[in-house]
Point group: C2
Chain length 149, copies 2
């Protein structure tokens, strides 16, 4: 496998509205997508765009708020009440190939491959097998399909 783009970092928050305020007003973010519910994962999410080099799109920040106490994010916030860094997400060209690769490496995959917040297939790898980092692998979105503008 070849290391793909760091598509986004996932950041848990007790209030997506407060986090958007923080990124817009304190950090100077210009583009933030409209929050939407990912019911299957029990979370509300939105993306903050950061600039890349030479006018390209940079790594996004995914803000994640639990929809209920049953959400896995609720457990994270119980330990980190202010929120914080939750996962990293790297792109791959072929999700099935990537899944096979990590299985061969003996890495635990958390559940089936499913459609993620960008509308492309994703899966998560167990942080205990990934040097402490909950790692999402996502198939690269088709051009222009995943940006907020």
């Amino acid at each position: 496998m070849k290391l793909g783009r760091l598509n986004h970092i996932g950041v848990a928050t007790p209030s997506i509205a407060d986090s958007i305020g923080h990124y817009r007003e304190t950090m100077g973010a210009v583009k933030v997508t409209e929050p939407f519910d990912l019911e299957a994962q029990g979370v509300k999410v939105c993306f903050v765009d950061t600039p890349g080099e030479n006018g390209t799109h940079g790594t996004q920040i995914e803000l994640i708020e639990p929809l209920s106490d049953a959400s896995p994010i609720a457990g994270f916030l119980a330990k980190n009440p202010l929120g914080g860094q939750h996962h990293v997400c790297f792109e791959v060209e072929d999700i099935a190939e990537a899944r096979e690769w990590f299985e061969e490496q003996g890495k635990r995959i958390l559940g089936p491959t499913r459609i993620g917040a960008h509308g492309t297939p994703i899966f998560f790898l167990h942080p205990k097998d990934m040097m402490g980092q909950l790692t999402e692998i996502m198939e690269t979105p088709k051009e222009g399909a995943h940006w907020s503008n």
Copy 2:
């Protein structure tokens, strides 16, 4: 202030050698800088390059290993023995202006502005004032000065 590039994410590790192995062998990283000691901060660091869009440089991953039990990273590892995400680092054009901006916002700045791992001035902001994220602000390196190739 305008949100700058996400220069890198900082990832703590009990073994920089193991983490380099993980990124190279499991994740398929191609470019990893030689680890070096940042004595003033009590850490050994190196950078894993990730690709950006259209052949640009992407956000780097800074691997950070404590040089001794007195390092602030040692405390992080006591809570997270496998390692994990430690901080985020955004670029700004002018470090003095950025420092003034965050001071005006009432954000706690951790220590004086100093030279960071990329050789440009940096400072850190208190995670409790930054929605739970330890946030590094760095002045954009001069072109070509900060990459491993």
